[in-house]
């Protein structure tokens, strides 16, 4: 008896199964896309950390690209086409970035992408964009090997679709070395945080500095808080002190550089600390506790408010009232977006759909040349920016003040 009744379970189960499997099969009317206007749509992707501890920089990149696209659409820069921005969060993590890149690559109307912020993330997104023939322009990757490969002596282009508007560690470090030598500082201790960026910067600095006749009194490393450090640098400072250096060159970011600068000065070692664009941040000054007068930082490009284009960008950005500041890489992102837009003018002219214009866009980007916010925007045979303008900033009265702008030779 029981058996018979239980067999009936199968029937309702089957009904439920059928009902459920039918869920996905309703023919959906295509919603939203290209309704109304006659022009075709092409998309520019943004891939950057939009959440997490680096989100301030990532959001600046996103809004700068949005600004560039808004302006291009307003002037109808590419006749017959409307540009849209799609943005993806990479959380500054390689795994997440890879998923985001795959999603962008799967969108047929994406032709170019601005991003990533981190070199370590780009390492994993490069091949995805490259095989999809999507132009990738990073506003912030400073690791030299991304373009020229493992062996700096025998540079070889890694990915044809990859470009960057910022300069690399190989330029910033040596520029700082030349600056210090010119100021008569011949004895320097180096410290870095054992991260890709910091270590690369210090290596490039050391090479140039010793070549120009300087001495490295001591080379130390510290551990970042993310990697298990506790921001107590007393052991390192004890090691540096006997060498009596005239300055400390630091490779790394501001969260460690600020406390390091303060602790160096508190240890009665009144020498300036110099670093790269990673410490060129107002937060550095807060963390250095008011003892950082005279500390130095290099940053790529001329100060945005020094050129007319830069001033205009900052004014436009402000006028657009985005909730976040343009940040350290906003100008580069703006230039990167404009490089793609300029390339699209030629590549889309004869294209019927965005996907077929991808290869042509890569070719066109490698030939762009225009005056951007950060200087002349053009790329060499490896995809690196040809412009090598660097500015040294100095802490004066609790603010970063531009001290010297020059082209690296």
């Amino acid at each position: 008896m029981q058996q018979r009744s239980i067999v009936r379970i199968g029937v309702p189960l089957a009904v439920a199964a059928l009902a459920l499997s039918a869920c996905g099969s309703r023919a959906t009317t295509s919603t939203g896309s290209s309704s109304g206007s006659a022009s075709k749509t092409v998309k520019i992707g943004v891939i950057a950390p939009l959440s997490g501890s680096l989100s301030a920089l990532g959001l600046g990149i996103q809004h700068s690209v949005e600004l560039a696209v808004k302006q291009a659409n307003a002037t109808n820069a590419i006749p017959g086409w409307k540009i849209e921005v799609v943005f993806k969060d990479d959380e500054a993590k390689a795994d997440v970035g890879k998923n985001a890149a795959t999603q962008l690559a799967g969108d047929d109307s994406v032709v170019g992408v601005v991003g990533d912020l981190n070199s370590s993330v780009s390492q994993q997104t490069q091949p995805i964009f490259n095989s999809a023939k999507i132009t990738q322009i990073s506003p912030a990757n400073t690791n030299p090997s991304l373009t020229i490969g493992a062996d700096a002596a025998n540079p070889k282009r890694q990915y044809a679709a990859y470009f960057r508007t910022c300069t690399t560690d190989a330029v910033q470090g040596p520029f700082a070395a030349q600056y210090l030598i010119a100021k008569g500082i011949k004895k320097v201790a180096t410290v870095h945080d054992k991260q890709t960026y910091g270590q690369g910067l210090v290596e490039a600095f050391t090479k140039e500095f010793t070549k120009d006749g300087g001495t490295i009194t001591d080379a130390e490393t510290i551990t970042t808080a993310d990697n298990g450090g506790n921001n107590d640098f007393s052991t390192v400072i004890t090691k540096i002190k006997p060498g009596a250096p005239q300055a400390i060159y630091y490779g790394g970011q501001f969260p460690e550089a600020g406390p390091l600068s303060l602790q160096v000065k508190n240890a009665a070692l009144t020498i300036p600390l110099m670093g790269g664009d990673g410490i060129y941040d107002p937060k550095f000054i807060q963390l250095a506790g008011g003892k950082d007068e005279g500390d130095l930082a290099t940053s790529v490009g001329a100060p945005a408010d020094a050129s007319d284009a830069g001033k205009k960008f900052l004014a436009d950005y402000k006028a657009a009232a985005y909730p976040d500041e343009s940040g350290a890489y906003g100008g580069y992102a703006y230039d990167a977006a404009n490089a793609i837009i300029n390339a699209l003018k030629t590549s889309l002219a004869s294209a019927s759909d965005p996907k077929s214009a991808r290869q042509a866009t890569i070719d066109a980007v490698s030939k762009v040349s225009f005056d951007g916010v950060t200087g002349k925007v053009a790329f060499d045979q490896y995809g690196d920016a040809t412009s090598k303008v660097i500015t040294v900033y100095k802490v004066e009265g609790g603010k970063w003040v531009a001290d010297k702008t020059d082209t690296f030779k």
């Binding site: 989100s55 052991t235 303060l262 963390l287 506790g289």
Partner: protein, 306 residues
């Protein structure tokens, strides 16, 4: 000279480890629970004191402010620790060992995220105020540089240790703690309120962690929501090194670990020396101690129950 200087550096960071390690060891001695979230209690303490400064004393540096700041730190960390015990750990007291451990990881992640998301400006490291006499330019004794914050940290450890000794050996609650750690069931039969003893253990650990939070802020002038994780890990290492469950062991373990780290940074020569390998040597030390002396340096009361 360098040796002496690094010894002082090591004792300073060791004092910080010791202050936090006591929290692990007191709780473990009583409930055999690794309170993985104890590092976050330390972090909350630092943020508590910063909040007091920002709200009431913004811009001031007088040494007197240190007292309300310490009170703020202790209030925040003890509050969090007691809530944590009540709502996360107590319901699991008789669950298998893995459950409270996973809970601890969950609590730890949650506390970090709560601070990061809801404390104003905490998405990047926050500057910590400089207070007269306990931070600022170091004292120079011949060739030895003596940081003011270091004096504060070591002093805090000494005072705390004396207080702890008095509390555990001379008060009724303290003796109750000892009884519970030896045999909870008998202690309960003797009329000791075990629940209260456990809360007190958490609070005691949090008290010292809160002070440590202020010390850390004064030393580095920056606090962030991730600082608890590493500090907690090191402090736990120190507690195990000294013999977990043994309060004096936590202090000794902390100091040994701190000194070992700073000496390793200075004196291990060649490619495997310096800061990059410092933590590796600290952990190797831990493994070696555990393998050859599983009860820790001073021996623990409750090895076999682990």
């Amino acid at each position: 000279m360098l040796f002496l200087q690094q010894l002082i550096n090591g004792l300073t960071s060791g004092s910080l480890y010791a202050l936090i390690a006591v929290g692990y060891t007191v709780v473990y001695g009583i409930v055999q629970l690794i309170n993985f979230a104890h590092g976050e209690v330390f972090m909350i303490g630092a943020f508590g004191s910063l909040a007091v400064w920002t709200i009431f004393f913004q811009g001031q540096t007088s040494i007197l402010i240190l007292i309300p700041m310490l009170l703020g730190a202790v209030a925040a960390s003890v509050g969090v620790a007691v809530l944590m015990e009540r709502f996360a750990y107590r319901p699991l007291r008789h669950a298998p060992r893995l459950a409270p451990l996973i809970t601890a990881i969950g609590v730890s992640v949650s506390l970090q995220e709560i601070v990061r998301l809801f404390y104003p400006g905490a998405k990047s490291p926050l500057p910590y105020p400089q207070i007269d006499y306990v931070s600022g330019t170091a004292l120079q004794l011949g060739d030895i540089t003596l940081r003011r914050s270091a004096i504060f940290t070591v002093g805090a450890l000494v005072v705390s240790a004396v207080f702890l000794w008095w509390f555990i050996n001379r008060t009724k609650l303290g003796r109750g703690m000892q009884a519970v750690s030896q045999d909870p069931d008998t202690a309960r039969l003797m009329g000791i309120n075990v629940d209260r003893v456990i809360v007190v253990a958490f609070a005691l650990g949090a008290l010292l962690a809160g002070i440590a939070g202020v010390a850390q802020g004064l030393q580095t002038n920056s606090i962030s929501q991730i600082m608890g994780f590493t500090a907690g890990l090191k402090a736990f290492t120190a507690a195990v090194l000294g013999g977990i469950g043994n309060v004096a062991g936590a202090v000794v373990g902390g100091l040994v670990l701190g000194v070992a780290e700073s000496l390793a940074t200075q004196f291990i020569p060649g490619a495997f020396g310096g800061t990059p390998w410092k933590d590796v040597w600290a952990f190797v030390l831990l493994i070696v101690v555990l393998v050859f002396r599983p009860q820790g340096l001073l021996g623990a009361r409750v090895v076999d129950r682990a």
